[in-house]
């Protein structure tokens, strides 16, 4: 039996992503956010998560993808990071998947832009690819690039 790992998956635009389940605290529906002026636009605001204040990062903006249509409300994937809990705003939530480690591959060299830093690698699933998100980098990785991506 090959070693497997469980992933909490989600969609951003048409890409399929995964975060190791151990890092995920919970997945919740869209929450009203309090915006924080003066911060890079990838930080969409603050959420009250049962008394805990959690920063919400828009992963579309983080990856430099086009904005999500306003009619579609994002979902929150709350992950634990060194800097406390952080919520990632994603388009849609997928299933929890088990992926075999054999099917893992480093990102292709041709991967450029913000994705280069944020994608740890790719799992080749049967019918599509799953990109593994580096949650820590998505939160703290270079403030500059965060600022740029937002604009």
């Amino acid at each position: 039996m090959a070693k497997t790992q469980q992933f909490c998956t989600f969609f951003l635009k048409d890409q399929f992503f995964g975060v190791p389940v151990q890092q995920v605290q919970e997945v919740i529906r869209f929450q009203e956010m309090t915006r924080v002026p003066l911060v890079p636009p990838v930080i969409r605001g603050l959420i009250n998560l049962r008394g805990q204040i959690v920063m919400a990062i828009d992963l579309r903006r983080r990856f430099g993808m086009p904005e999500r249509p306003e009619s579609e409300l994002p979902m929150n994937v709350v992950v634990r990071t060194d800097d406390g809990a952080v919520s990632f705003l994603v388009d849609e939530i997928g299933d929890v998947l088990e992926a075999e480690e054999d099917s893992f591959e480093s990102p292709p060299d041709t991967l450029q832009g913000p994705g280069r830093d944020l994608v740890q690698g790719v799992y080749k699933l049967e019918d599509h690819l799953m990109l593994v998100l580096d949650a820590q980098r998505a939160v703290t990785g270079g403030e500059e690039s965060m600022a740029q991506n937002g604009n």
Partner: protein, 780 residues
Amino acid sequence: MSDAEIVKEFLVESYENLDRLDQDLIALEKDPGNRDTMASIFRTIHTIKGTSGFLAFNQLEAVTHVGESLLARLRDGQLTLAPEITTALLSMVDAVRQMLGSIEATGNEGERNDQELIATLTRLLETREEPSAASARVNGNPPKSALPQPRPNLGDILTREGKAKASDVVEALAQQNAGDPGHVGEILVEKGTVKPQDGVDDALNIQQQARGQSASDSTIRVDVGQLDRLMNGMSELVLLRNQIVQYTNSTDDSELLGTSQRLNLLTTELQEGVMKTRMQPIGNIWSKFPRTVRDVALGCGKQVRIEMDGKETELDKTIIEAIKDPLTHLVRNAVDHGIESPEGRRAAGKNPEGLLFLRAFHEGGQVNIEITDDGAGLDYEKIRNKAIQKALITADQAARMTEREIAHLIFLPGLSTAEKVTNVSGRGVGMDVVRTNIEKIGGIVDVQSKPGQGSTVRMKIPLTLAIIPALIVASGGDRYAIPQVSLLELVRLEGEQARKGIEQVNGAPVYRLRERLLPLVYLNRELKMNAKRQDAETSEAQNVNIVVLRADDRQFGLVVDEINDTEEIVVKPLSKQLKSINTYAGATIMGDGKVALILDVMGLAQRARVVSEVRDRTSRDKGGEESLGTGTGSQRNAVLLFQYQENGRMAVDLALVARLEEFSRNAVEIAADHEVVQYRGQIMPLVRVSEVLEGRHRQAAQTGQESLHVVVYSDKGRSVGLVVDRILDIVEESFVIERHTGRKGILGSAVIQKRVTDILDVPGLIAAADQSQLLTEAQA
């Protein structure tokens, strides 16, 4: 109780006792005749010795044992307390403390060699060996039986009960004094003088009973973690209360209203109660200072007396913890650097004994702590030189700094003026750490000093960090909380007032608050929020809400869309990215469950006044009329202020100023119809600032002033002298330059030292003077 629990209990109790011991010993040194203090010291050491013997901490027992013997002789008046003895006893306390620390960490006393300490104590003990006196005590005739005899000695009990002969006990005591680590009882048993079952055990029981009479326990010890959890729960309850009160205010159900009101009151009461459990008097940390002062003073041959006022002032435990080290550092510093040697003081006509005065008091929801010494004060010259030497400031900057600014240099990292590095201070770390630590908990530090008279370090510290009263305001559709501490007053301008009340000083909005100009900051603009509302504020006849705030010692008015209410809010920390913006102190959850940001008034003030435009401008870039800085954090600008006409003030960026000179009127010559002076082997053209700005021509008779004040401006090695009426001051402040296009030679205006001041555009001024050829002329 398990062994571990017993040991833990012992540790906690002993730590407390040790703290008291330090104080008592110092007190005793001042007042050697005080029997109560003596008795208290003896009791403490005796208890530690007894328990450590019971728990088989032999080294601990050995050390305390000699100490106890020494104390016994002091108590009985056979020895008098000399500084040497105090020092030895204090070292004993330190040794005990170390061992306790080791026991706490590893469960045993650790590898130690206390022979030297024991030898010292024994030597002191033997300085006046009088065996007869010892026997007098054993015979049940303690010379001072009137003083509360804390615990009967085992030997006393044994002799009284007739279980042992006095002479045997004396022998045992002598053996003990000679270094035998055993108890009197043990020695006696060993020698076969008494049998354990018939004598010593009973005697120990009697002794135990005497010990049991300690004060009835009206206090309990609570784990701090437990208190923290309680506090967290309390915070949540406060939030919930806020939500319920907000909700019920919108209903007509009188019963529900009544209930919620009771809940409101009860929660407030409970909150105060919980907060109180976490409050500790500042005396808890101060009590260690007499010892610190004594040690440091002794170490550097000084005489220092410490006085305290406001010991009972209470602060939250976390804050107490946070200020402990900075305070200790300041106290050490004051003794080591501040107070002079006795000879020095005598020469200066002062009492050879220096005074260190600690003061704490509540003021406006904050605690003020002052540490004052009557020493030599700060040596401004030395600080200045040191700062230049360490390249913290340039010589130019230094020459223009005020004393107050120089005093503040001591808070810069890497600056220590101690001539030699002592084990106390002078390592170049210190004051900057003090400042960082105090600022971390939202406090501020300031230093004032008068040469020859001493210095005062003053700090303002918040009472607690968890729950604070705050004013809730709204701007751009979002709510923000402003800590009440910074709030001075609220001003509301309606209708006509709103239109006329806000005046512009060259683009900088101000409001006349009781005949003083209050600079205004628009929250929407500072936070770069949507422009629609911005227009509404300024042009339409809307009501204007001004929140008058204090940042440091300055005031400013924050214009917001709405002022809601004051509320107790629970401060929640922000993640690193958000903290780094310096505009938010935290976040909180409002009654409706939404998050609101807490404004950092200090950060906001810095942001509002910050601008790097003066420097930008020096590169003669005239583009961009944006009045706000690009937000480069808390950069401060140094400017030279000079008088302009009767009452006006102008400022010029210090970076543009090469030197300040004074020329005699006679030195002014005319070359090519321009006023010039000979300056450093060059011909330097002069520009009279007021003439150029007013478009006047040079008047033939410039009488009145005997000499000309000249600000020398250099560019590419050539100089132009700007003649001003009078040079006022050099200040370093954060400010925003409000630009306006009107006049040539003026960059804009800013509020500097709370006054609206025009900023000179030097290149523009020279151009305006139609003397653009000046530079080339000089070149020729």
